[in-house]
Symmetry: C2
Subunit: 136 residues, 2 copies
DNA sequence: TTTGGTGCAAAGGCTTTGCAGAAAG
DNA sequence: CTTTCTGCAAAGCCTTTGCACCAAA
């Protein structure tokens, strides 16, 4: 949140980045905390939050707000969209590249200065689809 | 959250719906609370939250999750997108209708069953644009 | 009446922060 | 050394909830 101080690559920050890069599950801060304590039992939840914030601010990861109450994190910083399962909350990647330039289209319709867009989908993940069939 | 009980149109619920329909500012629950206490000083914040939840579940309004920490509400239930000002948080409407069928496009790329999409923009509102010019 | 709703206040869930000691550069 | 970072715990913010009374239908 403060000015551009020099960042240190601490052990914690390094492990957080590594772990996030290993998974494709878009974990929440607490998910990360649970994963991390296995390798680094003394790490604190506050440190996890602080570093995820710093890493996303510096553009090394992205913070996602895909609905639900918790933010999620993604080490894949390429432009892509997400789907969120309405049953279990799981989040998946989708790389739809809209054919039209959405920012340009939007700019025509508003007096806001448009910077970027975010496209997200709602759906049901394979596991929950399966569960529906067997339960119904 | 519970089964389909019969809803009563209480004075509070009615006023909440009316007030939301009057504005195009996408207020948060607390914004609504502040607006409402002028007409109904004894209304409680809990009642505002409960009713906004009930009204959005019953499809009479929509609950927005446009980033930021608070949810926002919109009495316009037509399909449209939103822009959020990165400086002040203000939210505006945009009615871009993407030319392609985004759900269908997305469905090709995933094993999730896609239901719907949400398209949101980030930008700067007219007031904040103005403020930048005068400050800079 | 019957049953859902309200106000109030307390509880909850997720995230941020103050602080003293630890560690990177 | 200097300055950032960490762990811990407390505080914060937004939202939900329990309860006793109130009010639609």
């Amino acid at each position: 949140m403060e000015a551009k101080n020099k960042l240190r690559m601490t052990k914690q920050r390094q492990v957080i980045l590594e772990e996030l890069r290993k998974v494709k599950t878009h974990p929440t801060a607490d998910d990360m905390y649970q994963m991390l304590r296995r390798k680094m039992p003394k790490i604190s939840l506050g440190t996890v939050y602080r570093n995820l914030e710093i890493l996303s601010e510096s553009g090394m990861i992205q913070k996602l707000d895909v609905g639900g109450t918790q933010k999620r994190f993604d080490a894949d910083i390429s432009i892509h969209s997400h789907v969120r399962c309405i049953d279990c909350g799981r989040v998946g990647d989708i790389d739809v590249k809209p054919h039209c330039n959405l920012e340009a289209e939007a700019q025509k319709m508003t007096d806001f200065e448009i910077f970027r867009h975010r496209l997200e989908f709602t759906g049901r993940c394979p596991l929950c689809q399966q569960m529906r069939k067997t339960t119904a």
